[in-house]
Amino acid sequence: MTLRADIRIRRDGFSLAAMFIAEPGEPCALIGPNGSGKSTVAAALAGILRLDAGSVQLFDKTLDNGRRALCPQRRNVGVVFQDRLLFPKMSVRDNVGFGLRARGQSRHDADKTASKWLDRLDLTAIADKRPPQLSGGQAQRVAIARALAIEPDLLILDEPMAALDPESKPAVRRLIAQALDDFPGVSLCITHDPVEARALARRIAVIEAGAIVQVGSSAQLQRTPRSAFAAAFVGINLFQGVISCSGDKPVVLDARRCGQHEDAAPPVAIRIASPDQSIAPDRSEVFASLHPRAIILGRDKPQTSARNAHRCAVESIDPIEGALRVSLTGPITLTAEITDAARADLDLTPGSTVWASFKATEVHVYRR
């Protein structure tokens, strides 16, 4: 039941060429910045958009081969839309049973199956209500039930929690995670929220400017992000550059922050520990990632074993769950993570000057 997708579409000056494989039982997430093509991928898989070239194959069925495409009705793809798109003039029960009745089941049979799903998603109490009367969280659950009721081979969730308020998110997220765990087919969750991706998927594909730039587990992404977006997604500092060596001495790297414009700042030298054998020394293009927590901030120039130290200015301080993210600019652009107490001790405010240091061994270098 593998999904093999090679989606090539050209629309309004936007070019999409996304290739990926998804297996049943392994929920996938597709993440990327706005305009990267996520929704286009979803539409192509659902059959709402046709490919210009390439192919989409679900198990032994060719959904689209660039020349001929199966209409959405015949694909057995369940979609949970970003805007839910529940039928406003039908009750919740009829919405959930819609796909079944559309496929020819009698009202009685469809209602029975619908009731089962309503129960699973805790919707029985509102089964006779209409979509305009539902809250965001309820509507989301109805949309999920409606898609799951047809027992699709492929389930696509397009930003399933984008329209929810923060209070409803955790509960709905748990529900979706549960449903995805039980779901026997291929599932693909499109999102721009890192928490959602981590919670709902085991494999994450990163799409940027119409191409898939990285696929891996959440841990892999965290360890070796390969694009600015991926790095920002997992909250890692990412640099790219070339290694330069001087004999046996520890190597230095001419690095630019990933995603930063070339003219924005001159490259900075990052001292690293010896890279592993797989990376050839001298002028090879590499990524270097650095976790925010590995950065130590201090008022004075540190006299420590950390071989990287730079004098930076605090640009902003943003709270995250349980900590503070400090954005630093200067000879090097960094995001550091400290505690509230540390901030108070250092008396840090936007505009303060601070020394940022980190050990060479904390920099993880890997091939581009």
């Binding site: 059959g47 369940g78 819609f98 559309a102 305009p132 539902l134």
Partner: protein
């Protein structure tokens, strides 16, 4: 808040003056109509078989015209709003042409097509279909001028809908007709209501095309407006009474439509 002059704060006084003057231009004739009608004899007059005949005929012709307009109008509107048919603009123009065509021109055009010496007339007569100067002809004339209102209203209604709902239904496996039946039509109900009202109003008031194509024969083709025209020259009291009757019907339709005619009053579907 002080009125600091033209364009700021309260509207200039000239606007209400223009509005009242213009409105009285429209209201005076209606008031005159109500005042000139001899209400004391109204009920007896209404029992006149000739008048009842005209009422009955108008009703039959208009209702039939609306039914035909619905059957033709929805597929037409769907074609224009939901497909990529080539020459859509041209087709839409042709479909809506009778709306701007002077009705008498429509009647003469119908004669040239279906009249005894028309393009299709002889062929139809040979298989027993007589259209001009028959009730069927009156229905055809009325449908010709009023059906475009149905097409226009339904197309606008379809364009107002969120097409993505139909995509959603497709992904759930619903064939096109099921989507229309269970997703589109229920949402289109207000537009259908408005279309029916507008088409009916136009059908009821149709004069020029009917008199040219179907003629004016009491009991067969003399609908209310044609009856009013004849009584205008013979029995003025009758003309006023029938006019007031039509006026009341028109007002009723207008009231029923008020929610849709004024822009901004449109009730959009809640989307979740």
């Amino acid at each position: 808040m002080t009125n600091t002059g033209k364009g700021e704060g309260a509207a200039p006084i000239i606007l209400p003056i223009i509005a009242i003057t213009g409105l009285s231009l429209f209201l005076l004739p209606l008031a005159g109509l109500a005042l000139r009608t001899r209400w004391s004899t109204a009920f007896e007059q209404l029992r006149d078989p000739a008048i009842l005949e005209a009422l009955r005929l108008s009703f039959i012709v208009s209702v039939t015209a609306v039914a035909i307009a619905l059957c033709y109008g929805f597929p037409m509107a769907y074609l224009l709003a939901r497909t990529n048919l080539p020459f859509r603009r041209l087709i839409r123009g042709l479909a809506l042409l009778p709306m701007v065509l002077p009705p008498i021109v429509g009647g003469i055009a119908l004669l040239s097509a279906f009249g005894r010496n028309g393009i299709l007339g002889p062929a139809l007569e040979s298989i027993g279909i007589h259209l001009p100067y028959t009730t069927a002809g009156a229905i055809l004339a009325v449908t010709f001028v009023s059906a475009p209102f149905m097409v226009a209203t339904l197309e606008a209604g379809l364009r107002d809908l969120d097409e993505r709902l139909e995509s959603a239904a497709a992904t759930l496996g619903a064939p096109r007709w099921t989507i229309i039946r269970r997703v589109v039509l229920p949402q289109l109900a207000p537009a259908i209501g408005a279309g029916i009202a507008l088409t009916f109003a136009r059908a009821l008031g149709e004069f020029g095309a009917t008199i040219a194509f179907a003629g004016s024969l009491p009991g067969r083709t003399q609908t209310l407006p044609l009856a009013i025209y004849q009584s205008l020259h013979t029995n003025l009291e009758s003309a006023f009474l029938l006019s007031v009757l039509l006026l009341v019907v028109s007002l009723t339709i207008l009231i029923a439509l008020r929610a849709r005619i004024v822009p901004g009053n449109n009730q959009r579907n809640d989307r979740t």
